[in-house]
């Protein structure tokens, strides 16, 4: 399975769980709202019911007061009770519209109340008002009063009302308590569910992250390992990965790349080896017949005895050619080998190098070789710098046409490089040759006059370019020639030593 699929799946699952939690909470709050509505309704019913009871009691009390006192103003509570009864009853009927039981009770209440009002309250009020008009009226009142109070007809009716309202009260109180209990239970359940699912989602999330992280980390670090091995030119490592996901294909790509790198390094090495071998073959195989020619020419020279100077001259010329060929071959080999072999770096005094060179070259009498006066310690591949200096200095000597020839070497540090120059007071080089002289086999003078292979400056240029330096020539005919080149400043060979010195600072 792909990593991205795994990530999608786990995140999707976590989201699903959270979605479920949210849905449950939503459902629950709907339920809670409904329950709260029920509770509120019950409370309101209970309240209104109690108001209704009060209204009934007030109406009864008002009636009693009037009957006792006979004063009209005592009837006010009765009227007020009547009015309030009607209002509360309609309110109650409205509140209880979905509760048939309560409606039934209310109908009973209303029936009883109306019966009480029509058959007890209204007639006795009428009778009371007319009590003093005639004896018949008094008797009628007394009869009614006796009926309603001594027979307790009115009280029974009111009690019935109280009974039914009490039933409503009881039913609603029970309902209210039940709803509150349900509310509490479902809230607890939702809390539990929410907490459980959240914990589950967290566990899944953390587990996924850890598992994915672990596998990915391990594989990425093995890739890093491969990469750093490649950087160290160690190609023997291959990644094995059976996950069949994106990292697997990346691993496969890296393996392919490593293989390709290995192949190109191998072919580069092979090519270099071939070139070296070729150089060797050329040197060895071309030199053998050359030596034979040289020897044969010598023998012929000895064997012919007395002869014309022409022959001697030609033989000498021939040996000159042989010598030249040998030099050419050596020069080509030197040129071919530049940059192909690793040379160890050493630290040496530049002046000492010049001294060695001066001793190895044959300086014509009167020739002046001027060294730089200041000491300069250089760390580099000594042989390469030596080759450059030997070629430049020997050129300066070889082509010098003055009786008091002179070559001046200067060297100084210039930023990250040494700036080294070799100046002579020779014939100078015409402008048009300034580029050409660095080509292989380029000599300005005809090859017969000076034994020069013309490869010296090509070697110089190639070495300097190999060291990422640059060389230039400044010269005018009869003004002498100055070759200047840059050579990189390398850290001294004792690197560890200089580092500790830095730390001490």
């Amino acid at each position: 399975m792909k990593i991205i699929t795994k990530i999608y799946l786990s995140i999707g699952f976590i989201l699903l769980v959270f979605g479920f939690v949210t849905f449950a909470y939503f459902k629950q709050s709907q339920k809670v709202a409904k329950s709260i509505e029920q509770v509120l309704l019950s409370s309101e019913i209970i309240q209104t019911n109690s108001n209704l009871q009060h209204a009934v009691v007030n109406a009864q009390n008002g009636l009693r007061g009037f009957l006792l006192s006979g004063k009209e103003n005592f009837l006010e509570p009765y009227y007020a009770g009547m009015a309030s009864y009607l209002i509360e009853l309609s309110l109650l009927k409205n509140l209880n519209r979905d509760k048939p039981d309560n409606i039934n009770y209310l109908n009973q209440v209303d029936l009883e109340f109306n019966r009480w009002n029509d058959s007890v309250a209204a007639p006795i009020i009428q009778a009371k008002r007319e009590v003093n008009t005639s004896e018949k009226a008094r008797q009628h009142y007394n009869h009614l009063f006796y009926q309603s109070y001594s027979q307790e007809e009115g009280k029974i009716k009111i009690d019935t009302i109280q009974y039914f309202t009490g039933l409503i009260q009881k039913a609603e109180t029970t309902n209210k308590n039940a709803q509150v209990a349900i509310l509490k239970i479902s809230q607890d359940r939702t809390d539990l569910l929410g907490i459980a699912l959240t914990i589950l989602a967290l566990i899944i999330g953390v587990a996924t992250a850890l598992l994915l992280g672990k596998t990915i980390k391990r594989r990425i670090s093995s890739m890093q390992n491969l990469a750093s091995n490649l950087a160290r030119e160690n190609f023997d490592i291959t990644l094995t990965d059976d996950y069949h996901d994106e990292l697997s294909s990346l691993s496969a790509d890296m393996n392919v790349m490593a293989k390709k790198l290995q192949q190109s390094f191998a072919s580069l090495n092979k090519m270099n080896q071939e070139l070296d071998q070729f150089a060797y073959v050329v040197s060895h195989d071309l030199k053998a017949p050359l030596r034979a020619i040289n020897n044969l020419a010598e023998w012929i020279n000895e064997d012919i005895g007395e002869t014309t100077p022409d022959i001697r001259k030609n033989l000498s010329l021939m040996r000159g050619r042989v010598h030249r060929l040998e030099n050419l071959i050596n020069g080509i080999l030197a040129y071919a080998r530049i940059g192909r072999t690793k040379i160890e770096q050493t630290t040496f005094e530049f002046g000492d190098l010049l001294q060695e060179i001066a001793e190895s070259l044959v300086l014509p009498p009167g020739f002046n070789f001027i060294f730089p006066t200041e000491s300069l310690l250089i760390t580099t591949e000594k042989i390469l710098l030596q080759q450059v200096m030997v070629n430049l200095i020997s050129n300066a000597i070889k082509y010098n046409n003055k009786s008091n020839g002179q070559v001046t070497v200067t060297a100084q540090e210039h930023g990250a490089v040494y700036l080294i120059s070799v100046a002579d007071n020779g014939p100078g080089i015409p402008q048009e040759y300034h580029e050409k002289i660095f080509g292989v086999f380029q000599t300005i003078e005809a090859r017969d006059t000076i034994e020069s292979t013309g490869i010296g400056l090509a070697i110089v240029k190639k070495i300097i370019e190999e060291k990422h330096g640059a060389i230039r020539v400044d010269s005018e005919p009869n003004q002498g020639t100055t070759f200047s080149f840059t050579w990189p400043i390398m850290l001294p060979v004792t690197v560890a030593h200089s580092q500790t010195a830095l730390i001490h600072e």
Partner: protein
Amino acid sequence: MNEDRFVQCQKQLAQVKKEFEEFVYLVSHDLNAPIRAISNLLGWISEDLGPNIPDDVQQNIKLLQDRAQRLEKMLSAILALSRVSRTNLETGYIELPAFLENISEKYRNNNSFITIQAEPIGFTTYYQKLSAVINELLTNALKHSDKELTTIQLTATRVNNFLQLLITDNGSGFAPEIQERIFSLFYTARSKEETENIGAGLTVARSITNFAGGNLTINQAKAGEGSSFILLWPLHILETT
């Protein structure tokens, strides 16, 4: 980082290849002049000496001429090597066995017996290069033969996308330990004193084959059994870089 390294490596490789060719060219081209000068000087010397000279001098002059010629031959071989990727790049349609018949015709004489067994195969290729390789292999077989009648068998079959050409002779063959070395430049099985060969023919043949994307090997169990070269030559022209 490694991509860079790869690119760098490729660049280096291209650079080395270029240097290699440049170097080879220089070796062959610039060494030629003094060698020709040596030959010329020798000519003048022997002219000046006239016909009445001691035998040993005569002998030495002849040897010197040989050596100078050998040097020249060696240089032209190096030059040929350096030119493998630049010369004879013409392509054309060839048909077997006619192509092999044409080449073999030149080598048929009283001392040679060349038989050809080839599937009829037609393809477009660097025909001059293929011809050069086959010529070299035939020349090589005849040159090294120690028999009165040299028999050479050419067998051509199609193997996947390659033409496989077997060149088998009845010569003395090569000892197993030198079978790989015969392809290196200037290697001669016999001492240089005994042979006129400079030991470049097979090197050039293999270099041409490699350039075309093919393979040239020798397949032979032991010395004295005749040699059998296997040439694999692509039937399609490969993109070369």
